[in-house]
């Protein structure tokens, strides 16, 4: 997918674990994993708002557009 999600990078910067963030924003770890691994087809604005609030970041910090599909979300 052309949109790369840098959620792992933000989690590392805020020294937070995936399961902690999932619990804080009210989604399952499985759903968060779908987002982290780039399999998500869409994200609700309410989820995006919750992620930004808890990671204290901007939406632009989380998403990156790459021209070719080789740019995958690093683990």
């Amino acid at each position: 997918m052309a949109i790369v999600i840098n959620l792992d990078v933000m989690l590392a910067r805020r020294k937070m674990r995936s399961n902690e963030l999932a619990q804080l924003i009210g989604i399952t770890e499985q759903n968060l994993s779908i987002l982290k691994t780039g399999k998500a087809r869409a994200i609700r604005l309410s989820t995006l708002e919750a992620i930004c609030r808890h990671l204290k970041c901007q939406p632009g910090d989380l998403f990156e557009y790459v021209e070719d599909s080789a740019g995958k979300n690093p683990d």
Partner: protein, 178 residues
């Protein structure tokens, strides 16, 4: 009871019913034709392609039994896919690839059932009259409203399969929406 639970409960019951039907069809066919001559008159179907007396030789009955499996076989295949479909619905797998494939196969088989019915009629008339003296053997070919109904049902089921495929895509979209 929520909607999904209702689907699961009804699907379980239907799966059991159709499993029984699947087993009974060949048994009833065999018993019917082998004991044809001894059956009460009102048990003889009125939609046999030719009117027959109940003194058919064993060869005619065996031929009729074989021919009857043309439509029965396709009908059993339809019921097999219905059993599979209800099995999936029982597990709440409604808008999944498996259930859509079952529905598509079912629709195609119902259309084949229409074709099988067209083919069976002349063969059945031959099977039931071949033992008659020359001049009294009949080949009957026809198309009835029942045949057209089966064809239309098959087409409708295929259309429903296409709609369910769109539903599957929507559900997958929703599943991958965080």
């Amino acid at each position: 009871m929520d909607a999904t639970r209702r689907v699961q409960v009804l699907s379980r019951n239907l799966r059991i019913v159709f499993t029984a039907v699947f087993i009974l069809i060949p048994i009833i066919q065999v018993v019917f034709w082998l004991s044809f001559n001894g059956l009460p008159k009102d048990m003889i179907p009125k939609d046999l392609p030719v009117a027959v007396q109940q003194n058919l030789p064993m060869s005619a009955r065996l031929m009729a039994l074989s021919v009857s499996f043309i439509t029965s076989g396709v009908a059993m295949a339809c019921i097999y896919f219905l059993i599979r479909l209800f099995g999936l619905y029982e597990k709440a797998e409604i808008f999944t690839e498996g259930s859509v494939k079952c529905l598509r196969s079912l629709g195609s088989l119902i259309i084949w059932l229409f074709a099988a019915g067209i083919v069976q009629q002349p063969l059945m008339s031959i099977a039931l009259t071949l033992h008659n003296p020359p001049g009294q053997r009949i080949i009957r070919l026809g198309l009835s409203s029942d045949d057209i109904t089966i064809l239309l049902i098959g087409i409708v089921v295929v259309l429903i399969a296409w709609v369910m495929e769109e539903g599957r895509k929507l559900q997958e979209e929703q599943r991958l929406t965080v």
